[in-house]
Amino acid sequence: MQLVNKVRSFLVDQNYYIDIYEDNIHIFHYIDIMKLQNEEIILQMDGFRLILIGENFRVKRLENREILVSGLLKNLVFER
């Protein structure tokens, strides 16, 4: 996975990116987790806060710079 991340970071010249699928949200390069609850997840990103609001959030994968969350996303807020 680390190798894939390295390749991705080499190819994608971005500070972060967020992939939103039907039931999953995949976020790369977050800095900190401020809140982790079933209905709300707040992540500290580089220069802003990302607020995920929805239902039945469940963490599927949690790594140093990567988080995969499943659940119903209702609202996505960039708080600067």
Binding site: M1, I33, L36, V59, R61, L62, E63, N64
Partner: protein, 380 residues
């Protein structure tokens, strides 16, 4: 290769546990939400970090790949070590030889072969040799003892070698006799003469005594010896014997009832021991060897119940039995061209439980033998 472990933890709020894992820089690769907690997959190298998280009881439930197997073996070490031990014993028992059995009636040959086998490493408590090695040893032993051994076979039978030998018998041809008569070995009446060389001194139905010349090696013409030869042939005569036989009058008649019981038996030497107590009072047995355990044969025994009825021969039957016995006795010592002519009961005496019978037997048997003689004087 990365080593992963599955950890289970009880928690009211699963998200708190995940946050604490995040704070400890623990990478969670997969998460499963349970009713009262979490199960997650993580790198085994980070397990130590879990100790820093207080208030939760983290339990290792499963490891991935080969480590899971190793962990399983570690847990069931007793079964696995037993299995390994069993395999070792199995290998040992199937590859070790506990006895070498040399089969031959001559003790000298047995000793000779045993010594040779020992020299080539075929001995007790050694590992089994392969087929090629055994073949080489066989050839070598036959080469070493060309005058004593004709054939040798080494058979691997379970945990023993069975060695069968054929002794080489070197027959030195008898020197051909130059001058000999055929003389009578017994007194009797000449009944059949077959001779190719010699001068007949008797005719059919002549009575001859032991030592009489039957066919002479001196060829006479006009009362002058014209040649000396070795008489060759066979002369058969009627010979008489009297023989005594004793027959027991009481005997037991056994009748099968149809009731059958099964048992197991082990033998030590010539003594047999039943493993289970026999449940039948009177029975006849049929045995079949199942296997041999350390030279102790274990047999399956079929016991058939019989009723035993004591019976007594009447005089006529006893007499018939006695004559049958005489027949068997004579047939054992008579040759192919020899036969019993007649039998006659001379005397019979009945005791309490036996009958003594004296029988006169008339037999046709060979009565001639070659005897060498010197030119002027016969040899006896």
């Amino acid at each position: 290769m990365n080593r992963f472990v599955w950890i289970e933890v009880e928690a009211i709020q699963s998200s708190k546990v995940l946050l604490k894992l995040f704070k400890q820089n623990i990478n969670v690769l997969e998460v499963q939400y349970l009713k009262h907690g979490l199960r997650f997959k993580m790198d085994a190298s980070q397990v130590k970090k879990l100790k820093k998280i207080v208030g939760y009881n983290f339990r290792k439930v499963h490891e991935s790949g080969i480590y899971a197997l190793l962990d399983y073996i570690k847990k069931k070490w007793l079964i696995f070590s037993g299995l390994i031990l069993f395999c070792c014993f199995l290998f040992l028992f199937s590859h070790i030889i506990v006895s070498v059995q040399v089969i031959h009636s001559n003790k000298e040959i047995r000793d000779l072969v045993s010594k040779a086998l020992d020299q080539y490493g075929i001995r007790e408590l050694t590992l089994k040799k392969d087929f090629q090695e055994i073949s080489k040893i066989k050839e070598q032993i036959l080469k070493d003892y060309p005058n004593q051994l004709e054939w040798l076979e080494i058979e691997v039978s379970g945990m023993k070698y069975v060695v069968r030998i054929e002794e080489r018998i070197i027959t030195v041809p008898e020197p051909k006799k130059e001058r000999c008569h055929l003389i009578a070995t017994k007194s009797g009446i000449v009944k059949k003469m077959i001779f190719s060389v010699g001068d007949s001194k008797v005719t059919l139905n002549d009575f001859v005594k032991e030592g009489d010349i039957l066919v002479s090696g001196e060829l006479i013409a006009n009362e002058v010896i014209t040649g000396l030869v070795c008489a060759e042939g066979e002369v058969y005569g009627e010979v008489w014997y009297t023989t005594n036989v004793s027959i027991p009058l009481n005997y037991e008649e056994k009748q099968e009832t149809g009731k059958v019981r099964y048992n197991l038996e082990w033998s030590k030497g010539s003594v047999n021991h039943l493993i289970f107590r026999p449940r039948l009072k009177n029975y006849v047995e049929e045995k079949k060897q199942l296997f041999s355990f350390f030279e102790i044969p274990i047999s399956f025994v079929k016991q058939k119940e019989v009723t035993v009825t004591p019976k007594v021969y009447n005089e006529q039957t006893a007499l018939e039995k006695a004559l049958q016995l005489v027949d068997e006795k004579f047939k054992m010592k008579l040759g192919e061209k020899e036969e019993i002519l007649s039998k006659k009961v001379l005397k019979k005496k009945v005791n309490n439980s036996t009958m003594e019978v004296e029988v006169f037997v008339s037999v046709i048997e060979q009565i001639s033998r070659q005897v060498e003689f010197s030119e002027n004087k016969e040899e006896g």
